[in-house]
Amino acid sequence: MTYDLLVNGKKYVVDVDGDIPLLWVLRDTIGLTGTKFGCGIAMCGACTVQVDGVPVRSCVVPVAEAAAKPITTIEAIGETAEGARVQKAWLDIDVVQCGYCQSGQIMSATAFLAANPSPTDEDIDAVMAGNICRCGTYPRIRAAIKLAAAGR
């Protein structure tokens, strides 16, 4: 069956089973490879995108559930004020290492800052604990989120 997807303001018609996770439709069918695969069971956060402004783990969201709702991925998050601020803070602190987890980190951080504009360390830890980074960029993620929050 076909589904209408609204990704980063653009409409795509995809012909896949409705239970196929959104992640693979974004990456393989549409070709937006900025969203990453890390675990497939909502344990690592690498696949985080926003659906209707809410951060979700796209590896466990069936495409049927995301159909017709606005979806934002890392490729377009910089077009939001919050996203641009987070990306800039990421550059200023030079957070990234291998970079593989960073799309997900930035998507989580952006949604989080929109909801909590001046987070404490504990707030950051609680929310960002859902995103794994094997390169250990955690100290810099904390610093960058605080910088982004301060720069509002």
């Binding site: 089973d17 490879t33 990234v96 970079g99 794994i132 250990g136 955690y138």
Partner: protein, 717 residues
């Protein structure tokens, strides 16, 4: 800054590059010019630099980027001597071509062992200097002035006396006709503009906006997507598979069987995974089908008393042991570990009768190409490897098992196919850091200082298959790394018992390699001796390190920053671990608190490091943070168990890794140094576990000698 794949360039450029590559055969590092560059669209003085008439200077990266910041560091070295600023350059992955891009110290196109900077520090600067000299000479000749009256800055040659300036791009034809300089004097450190200064990583922008391309992101025209199930039992095989239901899944195109795996090929990875789940697979468990972790641990235990090969024999340990005593003896036991890089294993191939393209992120470019040639039967020169950014390496991508597997599958598929492993396959078919046991026997003199030290290392000889040059008379020199200890002990004896994993269970290199295996026993051991002698562990180490000024300076700096002299309340403790490896010297101090219930909190970790001449201080800090977190993750959680000859754990739920909320405060202090640069990517990892074990002893009086840390053993109530 986008990192380009050379083969996406226009065809004319591609031919040009292939022509240039022919001149490089046999040279250790390609500092030779391309004879054809005079007529070309760019000046290519050597394999690492290409200067076009307009636009950015291209630097070709001989090492691969897996997070360690090497692209930025190598670009800094080239730019420093070429006299261009970093915003005037763009980076390109080197193709698989060991004749031009081999690591001079490893003799192959390998990125690993924290050896890149040590290997290329001079050659890259010389490559930059050679190009600059040719450009300056060309400009000076054109102006009719002496080259010594000209200088270079920010991509221009300048003749100050006449005020003339020429952009490098305008000089490329003339520069290509200049002789390659035989002498390439390098800048003194006092005139460095880039080296030693923190600069932003060149790969950051594309990594924060989703455009960075990792191997898993390759999407060649017409690609299909495969999910795989590999026989879970080590050494087992595929017996039978019922694929009817899988074929019925929408989007599934094909089911591929190979000896020990099944792959489902579909028009997206989601459909392939759905098809894979629908397969009914029967495995032949093979010779290890009943093995459990207990069996493996028992075998390792027995190996402690097995045949040992002498590694170091200094003084006379037997005599010293009888004259002094009693002997202190302890065994440290390390578990099986995975790498669990964030990017699961994957490889995309297009096998055709006339050649093959491979899209992958690998630490071993040359070997990747050879492996594919081998599987496909194609001549080596028909295999083209397109390297990508690596979503973490940590040693996992030093092996080509995943590339071989993907090639076997791609052999049976029409058109390009991307094979992506699930996290479960990634954890269950790693090249594991295998069980590693260490037995230390030491005796103390009347003053409490050690007079004899014996260290027996029990573990696999990874180097025997991976880099035989790094073995000696059957001894894996990597697994013995650091076993001799940095300490002044008059009688030392170290030996090695080779103890391999069961057939079919791959073992490999893991971040920090030999040092991570040996440091728990050495730094835990020396700590045990200090406590037995009733001497403060800092003071004890200092007495034994008077001949090691760099390590001592790092230790003193860490102790000062940690506030070693200030007392801690009950239930808290600090522990030290020192390491001397990869050409760098590190002192780590961990501070922990342990609750009555055994709950452990790592309060902070301080690391002082002397890695010689620093290229990018910000990268040093980042890599030490990274190495510490990787080591902490393993010390707290790293442990693979085996049942029925198969790994039990499968994902981040039952094989947890460190998360941000468990990350302590980490402080990195750099000891200023003008010595030759040392490696940094692995320096942070080895000291974590022993410094924690030592801190836990102070906090609880309990001496843990196995990893990961078992909270139950820390319970006091």
């Amino acid at each position: 800054m986008a990192v380009h794949d050379k083969l996406t360039l226009p065809v004319s450029r591609r031919h040009f590059l292939i022509g240039a590559s022919l001149t490089g055969a046999g040279l250790v590092i390609g500092l030779q010019p391309s004879p054809s560059s005079a007529a070309a669209e760019a000046f290519e003085p050597n394999a690492f630099i290409r200067i076009p008439a307009d636009g950015k200077v291209v630097f070709v990266m001989p090492s691969v980027e897996m997070g360690q910041g090497i692209y930025t560091s190598v670009a800094m070295l080239l730019a420093e001597e070429l006299e261009v600023s970093l915003d005037q350059v763009e980076l390109e992955h080197a193709p698989a071509d060991p004749t031009r891009y081999a690591n001079p110290l490893l003799g192959d196109q390998i990125t690993g062992g924290s050896i890149a900077i040590r290997a290329v520090y001079e050659p890259m600067r010389k490559a930059g200097a050679a190009a600059r000299i040719m450009l300056v000479n060309a400009a000076a000749r054109g102006w009719g002035v002496g080259p010594e009256t000209c200088s270079a800055e920010a991509g221009h040659v300048v003749h100050a006396a006449s005020g003339r300036r020429a952009a490098y791009g305008s000089l490329i034809q003339a520069a290509a006709a200049e002789a390659v300089p035989q002498e390439m004097p390098l800048k003194p450190a006092s005139s460095f503009k880039l080296i030693g200064h923190s600069v932003r990583r060149l790969d950051s922008p594309e990594k924060v906006n989703g455009t960075a391309k990792f191997g898993i992101d390759a999407r060649p025209e017409g690609v299909s997507y495969a999910a795989i199930a590999i026989c879970p039992h080590f050494g087992g095989k595929l017996r039978a598979v019922e694929d009817g239901p899988a074929r019925a899944v929408k989007g599934v195109k094909q089911v591929v069987r190979i000896e020990d795996a099944v792959a489902v090929v579909a028009d997206n990875t989601g459909a392939a995974r759905k098809g894979l789940a629908a397969l009914a697979i029967e495995w032949e468990p093979g010779p290890n089908g009943t093995l459990s972790l207990l069996d493996l641990e028992k075998r390792a235990e027995e190996a402690i008393g097995g045949n040992a090969l002498t590694h170091i024999n200094e003084g006379d340990v037997a005599k010293a042991a009888t004259e002094h005593g009693p002997a202190l003896e302890f065994v440290y036991r390390l578990p099986i570990l995975t790498h669990s890089a964030m990017e699961p294993m994957n490889c995309t191939l297009h096998v055709r009768s006339d050649g093959c393209d491979v899209w992958v992120g690998t630490q071993v470019m040359g070997r990747a190409r050879e492996a594919v040639a081998d599987v496909t039967g194609l001549p080596l020169e028909k295999v083209v490897v397109h390297n990508h950014l690596l979503g973490g390496g940590f040693g996992r991508r030093l092996d080509v098992d995943g590339i071989i597997l993907a090639a076997k599958i791609a052999n049976q598929v029409d058109g390009p196919v991307k094979v992506t492993w699930s996290r479960e396959e990634d954890i269950r078919h790693d090249c594991y850091r295998y069980l590693n046991y260490s037995k230390v026997t030491a005796t103390l003199g009347a003053d409490g200082m050690p007079v004899s030290w014996r260290h027996r290392v029990i573990g696999p000889a990874v180097m025997a298959r991976w880099l035989p040059a790094f073995t000696r008379d059957g001894i894996d020199l990597d697994i013995m790394a650091g076993a001799e200890t940095p300490y002044a002990i008059p009688n030392k004896y170290t030996d090695f018992v080779r103890h391999e994993a069961p057939e079919g269970m791959l073992t490999g290199n893991w971040r920090g390699v030999g040092a991570t295996r040996n440091l728990p026993a050495i730094e835990g051991g020396i700590d045990e001796l200090a406590h037995a002698a009733g001497v403060d562990p800092l003071e004890y180490r200092r007495r034994l390190l008077q001949h090691k000024p760099r390590l001592l300076a790092a230790l003193d700096l860490a102790a000062e920053k940690a506030g070693w002299a200030t007392a801690l309340p009950a239930g808290k403790g600090r522990g030290i671990a020192l390491s001397e490896d990869f050409g760098s010297f590190a002192a780590m101090i961990s501070e922990v608190s342990v609750g009555e219930d055994g709950s452990l909190k790592t309060e902070r970790i301080i690391c002082a490091v002397d890695c010689g001449q620093v290229i990018n201080p910000d990268t040093v800090e980042a890599q030490i943070q990274s190495g510490i977190i990787y080591g902490l993750s393993a010390a707290l959680y790293g442990r693979i168990t085996v049942q029925n000859g198969a790994v039990v754990e499968g994902n981040f739920d039952d094989s947890p890794v460190l998360r941000i909320n468990e990350t302590p405060k980490i402080e990195v202090h750099i000891v200023p140094s003008s010595e030759a640069p040392g490696g940094i990517g692995e320096v942070g990892t080895p000291g974590v576990a022993p410094s924690l074990l030592n801190a836990i002893f102070v906090a609880t009086g309990k001496r843990l000698r196995s990893l990961p840390i078992d909270h139950n053993e820390l319970r006091r109530a």
